[in-house]
């Protein structure tokens, strides 16, 4: 190949070589899954927005990611999986803020989503948790279908490909049925797992949590991402509970992180969350690194294209 054919051709040549090398490199390090992302390289891997108004922060984050329309197409069924495990009011920060969930529901319906489901397999009694979190009312008002998740009948057993410990899990029927899954956890301290955000929130999409506790939460959590990954993870980290979690007590302390993190990669989102929690003296839980080692996601944020925005 010669370089004498002119500057324009040379530039385009260099560009194509660089892109190819990039794609190749990513292929080697991260596997085929991320290669698909490389084709849409104009969008960031992770967006972090600082602000206090959740609806505006969400809009800003999704704008950077190319709009919610990139994920939700007309006629599709959508599941929003918030954290509504606890019979605690929104002020405690134990559940996802209903403002955010209701905003996502409305946006999805505006985009022509056929049906939007909201559910959780709660820890406290489900009636109290759905009610006190304010999420049942907010979601219903926004037009979503709030699905119960309180008995095993709502869950179906599935084989998990590539699982190391959890060979089978029982996933909620709407989670299985959905075309698109938006995981909307709240970031907070967790007495058992140190921290809970995107990956840990998926424990509310399955029925029996005993096997996870029995075999080690850190070791088993990555398996939850193998059968059906959330399409998008939106982590609410505005007023982050830093002690007394996950339920929250009168003595709980908080960190005003004023952030919203959005990413297609739950591991990357959790990794960013862990960085926030580190500033409050909470060490990084090992399930994030274990998931990254198995190629389920990326935990090294330096290798990712991160967009940091402030409102």
């Amino acid at each position: 190949m010669t370089l004498k054919r002119g500057p324009v051709k040379r530039r385009s040549f260099l560009k194509s070589v660089a892109t190819g090398a990039c794609a190749l490199g990513l292929n080697f390090s991260l596997g085929g899954l991320v290669a698909a992302h490389a084709q849409e390289a104009q969008f960031p891997d992770l967006v972090a927005v600082r602000g206090t108004e959740l609806t505006r922060m969400f809009d800003k984050a999704l704008e950077a990611l190319g709009g919610l329309g990139r994920y939700v197409k007309s006629g599709q069924t959508l599941v929003i999986k918030p954290n509504m495990a606890w019979a605690q009011p929104p002020s405690v920060g134990a559940n996802t803020n209903p403002v955010l969930v209701s905003h996502i529901v409305k946006n999805a319906l505006n985009l022509g989503a056929k049906k939007v489901y909201v559910f959780d397999n709660t820890c406290d009694n489900w009636v109290g948790a759905y009610r006190d979190s304010g999420l049942e009312e907010a979601s219903k008002d926004a037009g979503a279908t709030v699905a119960p998740g309180n008995t095993s009948g709502y869950y179906q057993e599935v084989q998990v490909p590539g699982a190391t410990i959890l060979k089978t899990i029982e996933l909620h029927e709407v989670y299985l049925e959905a075309d698109v899954i938006i995981n909307v956890p709240v970031l907070k301290h967790h007495g058992g797992a140190k921290m809970t955000a995107a990956i840990k929130n998926l424990m509310g999409a399955i029925w029996s949590r005993g096997p996870l506790h029995r075999n080690g939460v850190d070791e088993t959590l990555p398996d939850l991402l193998l059968y059906k990954k959330p399409t998008l993870n939106v982590v609410e980290a505005v007023r982050v509970m830093t002690s007394g979690g996950p339920r929250g007590r009168g003595t709980s302390q908080y960190l005003a992180a004023n952030m919203l993190i959005a990413s297609e990669d739950a591991v990357a989102a959790d990794s960013a969350c862990a960085a926030i929690m580190n500033t409050a003296g909470i060490s990084t839980p090992s399930y994030i690194e274990l998931a990254a080692q198995r190629g389920i996601g990326v935990s090294n944020l330096d290798t990712l294209n991160i967009q940091r925005l402030t409102i």
């Binding site: 972090a48 406290d124 007495g191 058992g192 029995r214 007590r249 908080y254 960085a275 926030i276 940091r308």
Partner: protein
């Protein structure tokens, strides 16, 4: 004309009673949505009110007892025919019997044995042995889960139902403690069914009377046993059987004075029950071992034994299905509600069982009190915890603990393990319920024989929220 009226009155009575029965049965066994309706019905049941009187019970119960007493002294045992759902069911069975043209009912004189059982049952209840009362009180029979199968009615319910086919309302006048107390009030009631002079002694009334209280040969009605079902009245060929004031006003006065002694003695008994200290009324005989976890507000085994009518409204309403019927902990504790954390745990913010209890066996608690109301204390067998045995991270108990009595902290093995702080534990059993180790959880709650208050939540000065030192820490 009178016959037509009597016919309509009979059917109006039946309709009212059957409607109540159907609603109660639907609420009990088909639709948990009607549980609030049950709460009202249970609290209006005379038997449950008697149960409530055996405590320094809810004040409304004292008021209702007096109200029912006065009304019964005037009108007779209207409660048994209009307010008692089990009575309505017995009447339905009675209609079946009529249709089947079995042997008709016949008058039986009142016998000493007929008052023996109810008196014994009430006395036993008074000394803190409430099992017999729970087995014989009509509303408890209908709603109890004692020896019930697949969530259906209890075995006693079916036995009573079959009995009523052959015995009519015999149960109400021989075994039912509620009916017994009401019969004391009803004897010498001012309005009553009476056979007039025009009677031709056809015997139609006696043959249809499920309470076997009409003696047509002597033209007498035993008002104490008459449950006012009104089945007889419309059958009287020349309407000589009437519900009316029978006595002259002066005689009425005499009657009231005479029956006053009887009624005063009931009052004394009830009053005595009210002032007798609970400690004396024991329940020591019925003390189960080892200590079960009593429902919130039960206070102590003695208190629960002295007031619980085994209606199991609490078991029914518990949203976490944490309450079950005790069978094996002690023969005399049979049928009492207990918390079983293996079924579910006592929800931190929930006071439903204390709200619905019709007898005051579970005292009312508000949510603030419930937060520190202690049912038991957590115990931990560290060497069997999977964090120790398998070296894995779990933390299920610490995650669910609402008070911070169980937290995860660094242990000697260099990894986080459950740390117990007894003075904050309220014994809700959440840790035991979620612990993945089965069949026996290494973290479990032992019930308190005397419920008390846990150490209040630590009061910390309101600390301002921390802020991020850098705009984006990643």
């Amino acid at each position: 004309m009178r016959k037509i009226v009597a016919f309509y009155v009979k059917w109006a009575r039946r309709l009212l009673a059957y409607t109540l029965l159907v609603l109660v049965l639907i609420a009990l066994y088909l639709s948990p949505l009607l549980i609030d309706f049950l709460e009202i019905i249970a609290k209006l049941q005379f038997g449950q009110i008697i149960g409530a009187l055996f405590s320094i019970g809810p004040l409304y119960a004292v008021f209702l007892f007096i109200l029912y007493g006065l009304l019964t002294m005037v009108f007779g045992r209207f409660f048994c025919s209009f307010m008692c759902p089990l009575g309505a069911l017995m009447d339905l069975v009675g209609i079946l019997r009529q249709k089947a043209r079995r042997k008709k009912f016949a008058y039986k004189p009142r016998r000493f044995t007929q008052v023996l059982v109810p008196i014994l049952v009430l006395l036993l209840f008074w000394v803190g042995i409430s099992l017999p009362f729970g087995l014989l009180e009509p509303y408890s029979i209908l709603s109890s889960k004692i020896l019930s199968y697949l969530g259906g009615p209890s075995l006693v319910f079916f036995i009573v139902l079959v009995l009523s086919y052959f015995w009519g309302r015999g149960f109400c006048n021989s075994l039912c403690p509620t009916g017994f107390v009401l019969s004391l009030f009803a004897k010498g009631s001012i309005y009553r069914l009476a056979i007039g002079d025009t009677c031709i002694k056809c015997g139609a009334c006696e043959r249809v009377c499920p309470a076997s209280c009409i003696n047509f040969k002597e033209k007498l009605v035993d008002y104490g046993r008459c449950v006012l079902c009104l089945e007889c009245k419309s059958l009287c060929p020349n309407s000589s059987l009437q519900y009316r004031r029978v006595l002259e006003p002066s005689e009425e006065g005499k009657l009231v004075r005479r029956s006053f002694i009887r009624k005063a003695s009931i009052g004394a008994l009830v009053g005595g029950a009210l002032v007798t200290p609970e400690a004396l009324r024991g329940g020591f005989l019925a003390r189960p071992r080892p200590n079960p976890i009593l429902p919130p507000g039960a206070l102590s085994i003695a208190h629960l034994n002295a007031h619980c009518s085994s209606c199991h409204s609490c078991v029914r309403i518990c949203p976490n299905h944490a309450l079950k019927v005790s069978y094996l902990s002690s023969p005399l504790f049979l049928g009492k509600p207990v918390v079983d954390p293996y079924l579910g745990f006592c929800q931190y913010d929930c006071v439903e069982c204390t709200r619905i209890c019709p007898t005051g066996a579970l005292i009312n608690l508000d949510v603030e009190q419930k937060h520190i109301f202690r049912l038991g204390v957590v115990h931990f067998k560290r060497e069997e915890c999977i964090v120790i045995t398998q070296g894995t991270s779990c933390g299920a108990c610490a995650e669910i603990c609402p008070t911070g009595a169980v937290t995860m902290g660094p242990g000697p093995l260099g990894r986080d393990e459950p740390i117990i702080s007894w003075h904050h534990c309220i014994g809700c059993g959440a840790c035991q319920a979620v612990c993945p180790v089965r069949p026996v959880s290494p973290i479990w709650v032992r019930g308190l024989a005397y419920q008390d208050m846990a150490a209040a939540k630590p009061i910390v000065a309101e600390t301002p929220d921390q802020v991020l030192t850098e705009e984006f820490p990643f």
